[in-house]
C-alpha cells in the first residue's frame, strides 16, 4: 500500500513557505534542511522554541531537542515540496541536498495562488520514480487519477478505508487487477464488519497497526479536498451505518474525464525511449502542465509542435500526462529545457557562527526533597481518610516495601481514579504532609480551584487533574492554576499573597515539558505569579517520607515553588 506521510501544515502555508525559501536562498541554491529552517525562521514562518526570527536558530542551537524539532519542521516542508516536484535532489544518488525545479520557479514567481499548478502537481504524483528506491511499497500507480476513477466507478462515494484497500494498493494500469479491486470493494459494501475485517487484515499484512494505516489516508484526502475533487459527506447506505465518506465533486468528475483522454506516461515506458524522444517528452510534459494550469506558453508553440511530431507514435494524438520532476532526476530535464538550477556553491549549513550561550530554565524550583525541608514536628489529629492512607503506607513499609515500591503500588492503585476519588485523595496527601487542605466538590462550577491549602497568610489554591481526565498534566491545567490565583486574590475567600504559589497536580508530569516550562516562565514574567506543578508520584514520595519518618513538610518548601517539580529518582 502507498504510504503518504502527513504534511502537518496547511496548503496556504506551504506556498508561502516555499516562496520564502526560494527568495531567501536564491533560485540557484543547493540546500539542506538547515538552510530551509534558517530561511523560514528569518521570515517568521517558523518558530523554534517559540521565538520567531533569528533568535529561533540561536536558541535551537543551544538545545538539541528543539533544534531537532526545528529541523523536523523543515523536513516536513521539504518532503511536501519534493512530493510536489518543486524541489528535487541536487545530486544523482542521495536525497539531500536539494535544488529548485522549473515548476518550483513558476510556483515561486507567480503572483496568484497557483491553485491550478498545484492541482497539476498533485496529478503528477506517481510511482515508481527514479527516487523510489527506498520506498516500502511497490504499487505502480498514478494514485490520484486512480482514486478519482475508482470513486466514479463506485457510485461517486467511498469510505476512507476503501482508499487503502483499493487505489492505494493496486497497480492502476493493470486492468485485470484494477477491476478485481473494484469488485472486491463492491463485495465489501453492505456490511461494516466485512470492511473492518478486511482493513485489519490489510494492516496486519503490512505489519502495521490500524491507526497508522488510517493515518496514511489523511494526506491524500486533504489534497483531494484542497483541489476541490472531493467533499466530505455523511453516508449511511454504503455500510448501513452513518459514516463520513468522500464524495466526488463535479470538478473531480471533470478531471477524470480529462485525464482519461490523456496519454499517461510512466517511468518504465519513458525509460524505453531514446534520449532524443525522452527530451521531447520531458518538454511536452512540463509545458502541458503549465498550459493546463493556465500559463500562456504560446512562445514555445513551435518547439511543442516539433516535439509532438517526434512523439506522435507515443502520444497517438493525445495530450500528455507526465510530470518529469516527479518521476525522474533533474539532469536530463534541465538538459531538455536548456536550463540550469543548483549552480551555486553547496551551502555550508553549519557555517553561521553560533552563540553557544546556554539557556537555563529560570525557575526557583526548590529542592523539595532536601532534608532541610522536613520538620520533625508531629502533626495534629488525623481524620479518617488520612489515617487510612497512613496505615496503608505503614503496612507496606512494614512488609518490607521500599519507598519506591510503595509509590509504585499506590500509583497503580489509583491509575483509573476519577475526579470524585482523586480530588479528596490529593487533599488527604497534602494533609499528611502537614497542611490544612480541603477539596471542592468536583463539578462545583469550573471557575474555582479543586482544593486549597488554607494558611493564615499564604493560602495555596490547587488545580487537580485526575488520571481519567488527563494522564499528563497539560497547558490547560497551568492556565487554570493561573486563573485560580487571580480569583483567590480578587475574591479573598482565603488570605494569600501575590508571591504565594498556585499549584497544579496531575497523575503524570507534562508530556509537552518544554511548552509547560515556557508557559510557567511567561506567567511569572508577565504577572509575577509562581505556578508549581506536581506529578502524583512526587506527592506520594513526599507522603511516604513523612509517614515513615514521622515528619511533616515545611510550609516554606511549598509556598514559593515554581516550575515542574521533578520526580525524586
Amino acid at each position: 500500500m502507498l504510504r503518504f506521510r502527513n504534511p502537518g501544515t496547511q496548503f496556504e502555508t506551504q506556498l508561502l513557505a516555499f516562496r520564502q525559501v526560494y527568495s531567501a536562498l536564491g533560485e540557484q541554491a543547493i540546500f539542506g534542511l538547515e538552510d530551509i529552517a534558517k530561511a523560514l525562521a528569518t521570515n517568521g514562518l517558523m518558530t523554534a522554541y517559540g521565538y520567531a526570527g533569528n533568535d529561533a536558530l540561536q536558541l535551537s542551537k543551544t538545545e538539541q531537542e528543539s533544534k531537532n524539532s526545528t529541523l523536523m519542521n523543515a523536513k516536513m516542508y521539504a518532503e511536501v515540496f519534493r512530493m510536489l516536484g518543486w524541489v528535487t535532489p541536487a545530486t544523482a544518488n542521495s536525497s539531500y541536498p536539494l535544488a529548485f525545479t522549473y515548476i518550483g520557479a513558476h510556483i515561486a514567481l507567480s503572483d496568484d495562488d497557483c491553485s491550478k499548478l498545484y492541482e497539476q502537481c498533485v496529478l503528477g504524483i506517481n510511482n515508481p520514480t527514479e527516487f523510489s528506491g527506498k520506498m516500502h511499497y511497490e504499487e505502480k500507480t498514478r494514485f490520484f487519477t486512480s482514486a478519482l476513477k475508482s470513486l466514479v466507478s463506485l457510485d461517486g462515494v467511498m469510505y476512507k478505508h476503501e482508499l487503502c484497500l483499493g487505489p492505494m494498493s493496486v497497480d492502476d494500469q493493470d486492468k485485470a487487477k484494477y477491476q478485481t479491486m473494484l469488485k472486491r470493494i463492491r463485495n465489501l459494501r453492505g456490511n461494516y464488519e466485512r470492511l473492518k475485517v478486511a482493513f485489519e487484515k490489510l494492516a496486519n499484512n503490512l505489519g502495521m497497526k490500524t491507526t497508522p494505516v488510517d493515518n496514511c489516508t489523511r494526506l491524500p484526502i486533504a489534497l483531494m479536498k484542497h483541489c476541490n475533487w472531493i467533499q466530505k459527506v455523511t453516508n449511511s447506505t454504503l455500510y448501513n451505518k452513518s459514516m463520513v465518506c468522500l464524495q466526488i465533486t463535479e470538478h473531480g468528475k471533470e478531471i477524470v474525464k480529462q485525464t482519461s483522454q490523456m496519454k499517461d506516461l510512466r517511468l518504465d515506458e519513458f525509460q524505453k525511449y531514446d534520449k532524443k524522444k525522452q527530451c521531447a517528452l520531458i518538454r511536452l510534459g512540463i509545458y502541458s502542465m503549465l498550459e493546463r494550469a493556465g500559463y500562456d506558453i504560446s512562445e514555445v508553440s513551435t518547439v511543442i509542435a516539433q516535439d509532438k511530431k517526434l512523439c506522435a507514435d507515443v502520444l497517438k494524438g493525445q495530450e500528455i500526462l507526465f510530470s518529469p520532476y516527479q518521476t525522474i532526476r533533474r539532469f536530463l530535464i534541465e538538459e531538455a529545457l536548456g536550463i540550469h538550477f543548483g549552480t551555486a556553491q553547496v551551502s555550508e549549513a553549519n557555517n553561521n557562527d553560533t552563540n553557544t550561550k546556554t539557556q537555563t530554565q529560570h525557575s526557583n524550583q526548590i529542592h523539595i526533597f532536601s532534608p532541610a525541608n522536613y520538620s520533625s514536628t508531629q502533626k495534629g489529629a488525623s481524620d479518617r481518610e488520612e489515617t487510612e492512607l497512613r496505615n496503608e503506607i505503614l503496612k507496606l513499609h512494614k512488609n518490607g516495601y521500599s519507598s519506591k515500591a510503595i509509590v509504585k503500588h499506590l500509583m497503580e492503585k489509583y491509575e483509573d481514579a476519577t475526579q470524585k476519588e482523586f480530588y479528596p485523595l490529593i487533599a488527604t496527601i497534602f494533609r499528611i504532609l502537614g497542611f490544612s487542605c480541603s477539596y471542592s466538590r468536583p463539578g462545583d462550577n469550573g471557575a474555582r480551584w479543586d482544593a486549597i491549602i488554607d494558611h493564615s497568610e499564604s493560602s495555596i489554591p490547587i488545580e487537580i487533574k485526575s488520571p481519567t481526565e488527563e494522564r499528563h498534566i497539560s497547558i490547560k491545567a497551568i492556565r487554570q492554576a493561573l486563573e485560580n490565583k487571580i480569583i483567590l486574590l480578587s475574591r479573598r475567600t482565603h488570605i494569600t499573597q501575590p508571591s504565594t504559589s498556585s499549584l497544579a497536580v496531575g497523575y503524570f508530569l507534562p508530556n509537552e515539558r518544554a511548552e509547560v516550562d515556557s508557559l510557567i516562565d511567561a506567567i511569572h514574567k508577565t504577572y509575577g505569579y509562581n505556578i508549581g506543578v506536581f506529578g502524583f508520584s512526587t506527592l506520594l514520595d513526599l507522603a511516604v517520607t513523612c509517614v515513615t519518618q514521622d515528619k511533616t513538610l515545611k510550609f516554606a518548601a511549598l509556598s514559593a515553588v515554581r516550575g515542574v517539580i521533578n520526580e525524586n529518582i
Binding site: 521565538y51 513558476h106 474555582r448 492556565r479 486563573e483 508577565t526
Partner: protein, 346 residues
C-alpha cells in the same frame, strides 16, 4: 530561463460606459445602477482585476505584528463557496457551502453580488452600460478609477428589519461549520470591518492564540469561542497575553485582549465573574463581542469606527446593547436576549 505568465490574470476586465449616480436595491430584483440620465441598469460583474469578492490584497492580510506566525489565507469567502468560474469568467456561489455571511456582497464594488433568498452573482455579457477593455493604454487606470468610485457609493444590501432572521440563519450554519471555517469567518469579518487580523498558523506550539488584531497602534490577542466553554477562552487569553508580553515584547498593559463569541455566556456562567476578577487584580480589561454585533456593523455601517475598548463587559454589566447602539446611531431591532447577541439569553 523563461518564466511563463498566467493567462487568466488581468486584461479581461470590463469598463463602465457611464458611472452610476447611485445603487438601488429593491428586494424583488437585482441591484440596479442608476445613471445620470435616469436610466436604470442591472449591475453586473466587471471582472475587476483585484477580484475583491474573492481575495484580500497582500496588504490587507499582512500580520499586525512582526514575526507573528500567520496563516496567509487570501480568500474572502470563509466557507469556500465562492469560486472563480473560468468558463463564465465570473465568480460563482456554491449554495450548498454558502453560509450567507455577505462578505462577498460587501466586497464587490460593482454590487454585482447580492442577497435574494441566498447569494447571487449578476453576470450579463450584454449589459449595455459596460464594454470590454481592448488593451488601450489607459484602460487599466480608468478601471481602477471606476472601481474606486463604485466603492464609494453607499449600498445597503439588507433591510434592518431582516437582521434577526439572517443572523439566525447564519448562526445555524456556523454552529455546524468546521473550526477552520469559523476562524476564517471571524478573521475575514474583522478585516472587512477595517481591523487588520491574522490567524495563527497551526503547528507553532509556542504561540497559542487563535489570532491577533490591531486597532490604531494597539495590538491584542483574540480568542474565538463558538461553543459554551467561555471560561476556557478567558484562560487562553491570559496565556496569550503572557506570550505576547514575553515573546513579542508587547507590554501586557497596552494589549487589547478580545474574545469573539457566537452567543454571550449565560449570566450564571463563571466567565463574567472571572473577567471582573482579572480586571480587578490585573487591571486588564478583556473585551467580549459577539459575531452578531460585528455582522450588524458589517451590514449597517458604511465606514466603521468600532471601538473595541468600549466592549468591555463583565458581571456588573453584561450588555453591549447601549454601546453598540450609540456607535451605530440606531436602535437595534433585536429582542432582548435574542441568541445572546447583545445580552445573555438568560
Amino acid at each position: 530561463m523563461k518564466i511563463f505568465k498566467s493567462r487568466n490574470t488581468a486584461n479581461s476586465f470590463f469598463l463602465l460606459k457611464d458611472e452610476p449616480q447611485a445603487i438601488i436595491f429593491d428586494k424583488s430584483s437585482k441591484p440596479l445602477w442608476l445613471l445620470k440620465d435616469g436610466s436604470k441598469h442591472n449591475t453586473t460583474c466587471l471582472h475587476c482585476t483585484e477580484k475583491y469578492c474573492l481575495q484580500f490584497s497582500p496588504l490587507e492580510i499582512q500580520p499586525p505584528l512582526k514575526n507573528f506566525p500567520t496563516l496567509p489565507i487570501k480568500e474572502v469567502c470563509p466557507s469556500g463557496a465562492l469560486k472563480w468560474d473560468d468558463k463564465r469568467q465570473c465568480p460563482t456561489v456554491d449554495s450548498q457551502k454558502c453560509i450567507q455571511c455577505g462578505f462577498c456582497v460587501k466586497r464587490c464594488p460593482a454590487k454585482a453580488i447580492y442577497f435574494q433568498n441566498g447569494i447571487h452573482v449578476s453576470m450579463e455579457t450584454n449589459n449595455i452600460n459596460v464594454y470590454q477593455n481592448s488593451g488601450r493604454e489607459n484602460d487599466s487606470e480608468l478601471h481602477d478609477k471606476q472601481m474606486a468610485y463604485l466603492k464609494s457609493l453607499p449600498f445597503q444590501a439588507l433591510n434592518i428589519s431582516e437582521y434577526s432572521s439572517v443572523i439566525r440563519e447564519i448562526y445555524g450554519k456556523l454552529i455546524h461549520a468546521d473550526s477552520s471555517v469559523r476562524e476564517l469567518f471571524v478573521r475575514n469579518l474583522l478585516i472587512i470591518l477595517g481591523i487588520p487580523t491574522s490567524l495563527r498558523r497551526t503547528g507553532d506550539v509556542y504561540t497559542r492564540m487563535d489570532a491577533i488584531y490591531k486597532i490604531g497602534s494597539k495590538v491584542g490577542p483574540l480568542e474565538i469561542e463558538f461553543g459554551q466553554d467561555t471560561l476556557s477562552a478567558s484562560r487562553r487569553i491570559l496565556d496569550d497575553i503572557a506570550i505576547l508580553h514575553t515573546r513579542y515584547k508587547l507590554d501586557k498593559m497596552i494589549q487589547l485582549p478580545l474574545v469573539v463569541c457566537l452567543t454571550l455566556p449565560n449570566a450564571r456562567q463563571g466567565y463574567w465573574q472571572v473577567i471582573r476578577d482579572i480586571k480587578k487584580v490585573e487591571k486588564i480589561s478583556i473585551s467580549t463581542i459577539t459575531v452578531g454585533v460585528l455582522l450588524i456593523f458589517l451590514w449597517h455601517a458604511e465606514k466603521l469606527n468600532i471601538n473595541i475598548d468600549d466592549y468591555y463587559i463583565d458581571y456588573d454589566n453584561m450588555s453591549m446593547r447601549a454601546v453598540a447602539e450609540s456607535q451605530l446611531k440606531i436602535k437595534i431591532p433585536i429582542a432582548e436576549g435574542f441568541l445572546g447577541l447583545l445580552e445573555p439569553q438568560k
